[in-house]
Subunit: 346 residues, 2 copies
DNA sequence: TTGTAAGCGTTATCAT
DNA sequence: ATGATAACGCTTACAA
């Protein structure tokens, strides 16, 4: 059996509670005893049992992570990078990260309940935001500390969240294309259930509207966040009578699908068609041509999420916060000023 | 405060121990009481406190994950996919996954000690294998249950591990190129401290030797597992008096760097130079030309790792195992039969 | 400044 | 088949 607080107490000739106080660095213990106790701890190679500590103190120093059920999320570099940020934010405050596992939505939900009611985590970070989310509703009802990476669909002002200004970012993207003279701009987004898609669509529409351009429903396509999604979308758009000359694509991976498809169709990028996308993951500049993309600072999203949740956990009635991570447009070579070279009508 | 076993006991008119037995589905409890107790649990919305259970039973049902310290690991899709496999394997047996956090090697080591001595995990999975690893040595010394994804550098027969036959895989890769008539084959590998690099280099050498070809030290380059690594390596190799006509690259991402660099140098793929790589991550077929790559079944690596560790945890003296995940060569368009079109000497 | 003792919510060993 | 009761290893009033 491992060495416990009692063993240390015995060796140092003090009570177990004293050892506990030394660990907590309680100021009411004399330096002399502290020294003696610490020596005993070192001698025995003592390390506190975190489970026992959690039980006694009702706090685990563990943060639960909830991912969306879709496989697609894992395939996207967003996942890795946000984890890196979370990891760094958590580590700084000595918190551990635990992942929910499960494939279906239902399994994930049960996993969260297990974590929460089982007392295994002090708080939860949701790494997605969708319409009518069961997990979010559950956490709210139980008043369990949690935070959303992304913008909650409802009651955003009552839920702490870390997000980009996606509406603005999308407006920036569309305005960039408008600035290059494009007037026929298509929008290729992810699932309409995802708040991020909703927001980016909004920004796109705002930009068009403010520039006096019509919003054409046939120019707006929703597909999954993967390459095939981008491929399907661009095919649909290019088969229109008057196809767009530029695309706002809400994810780099989708954009790669778009680019590949265009290349296969022998359409020149950026001479004939411009593409701007989101996330600026590593792949963005591995594409040929490299993608102009809106960098949303994924690492920072994760880092601030971890920090903010820990703040909520450590300070009673920390106010609800909305943390906006800045984005920036990274110009590469996938967009060009529109000349009169239109795509031949089909 | 949450509802406990005592509350359930009171409502069902039994002793707490009986409730505990019902939870464990102990056969010595009558069906009648089981029913009554379960009803009470449902009525109160009871959920066992996992922390208390862990303390009493000295087992957490949590697996600790240890990543290499390098940022590069996270940027590689290997990370996401192996996590998916681990997640599925763990979930099936109701285990949770906890990640070690920390940037430097030292921080990670401390994180592991914290997890282990703190009793927070029942076992550990190392997601890398390198020469002289501090973490591995620590776990061995303490006889703490753990398993390695990859081949341990030393005492591989005493440590359960889940791996590919990397030596064989690399031989397959080299032989494939030899089969296409290449005789000047370069090797671009990762850090020499990583066992995977060592093994793949070995396989490469074996293939050359068995085919009566010389092993040229200047044809062997080690770089980091990222795109720049591939770029640097190929530049070095192409500046040789007699540059290779084909490359075995031990990672897809590096291979992308190789391909991009070749394109920039106006060297035609696969007409002038062939490239074969490892891992077959999604990017492999997004490259132009799409990469011929050895699929090492990353998901399966993770999945089997989780399952095997759980077996070790649940069965006393489970024997040490070596689990080899099969690989297969996926032919795409980055390799071609060598004709007499050599690269012009520099 | 330090010790005593009562929890924290389970499991597990005795009894009965 | 079920009930007391003692762990599990720590924290934290309350005493002294």
């Amino acid at each position: 059996m491992a060495v416990t607080i009692k063993d240390v107490a015995k060796l140092a000739n003090v009570a177990p509670s004293t050892v506990s106080r030394v660990i907590a660095n309680n100021p009411r213990i004399s330096e002399k005893t502290k020294l003696r106790v610490r020596e005993a701890m070192k001698k025995l190679g003592y390390h506190p049992n975190l489970i026992a500590r959690s039980l006694a103190s009702q706090s685990t120093k563990v943060i639960g992570l909830v991912f969306p059920s879709s496989d697609i999320f894992f395939q996207n570099p967003f996942f890795s990078t946000v984890i890196q940020g979370l990891s760094e934010g958590a580590h700084e405050k000595q918190y551990a990260l635990q992942m929910s596992t499960g494939k279906t939505e239902e399994e994930i939900f049960e996993g969260v309940v297990h974590m929460v009611q089982g007392g295994r985590v002090d708080g939860i970070i949701l790494l997605y935001s969708r319409v009518n989310d069961q997990v979010l509703n559950y956490l709210r009802e139980r008043h369990f500390p949690f935070l959303v990476v992304g913008k909650p669909y409802e009651c955003a002002e009552e839920i702490t969240h870390v997000d980009n200004d996606n509406c603005r970012a999308s407006r920036d993207a569309a305005e960039y294309l408008l600035g290059l003279g494009h007037t026929k701009i298509g929008f290729i987004g992810g699932s309409e259930k995802l708040v991020v898609t909703i927001e980016r669509l909004l920004g796109y529409k705002e930009a068009l509207r403010e520039n006096g351009l019509p919003i054409l429903p046939e120019y707006i396509i929703h597909e999954e966040f993967h390459r095939e999604g981008g491929q399907d979308a661009v095919k649909k758009l290019l088969s229109l009578d008057i196809p767009p000359t530029a695309f706002v694509v809400t994810d780099d991976i989708m954009a790669l699908g778009v680019v590949n498809t265009l290349v296969e169709m022998d359409i020149k990028l950026p001479e004939q068609v411009s593409v701007i996308s989101f996330n600026n993951v590593l792949l963005a500049d591995m594409s040929r041509p490299p993608l102009t993309s809106i960098d949303i600072n994924i690492f920072e999203l994760g880092y601030q999420a971890a920090r903010s949740l820990i703040q909520m956990l450590e300070n009673d009635n920390e106010p609800v916060k909305r943390i906006i991570i800045p984005h920036q447009l990274v110009e590469r070579l996938s967009c060009e000023r529109v000349e009169n070279k239109l795509i031949a009508h089909k």
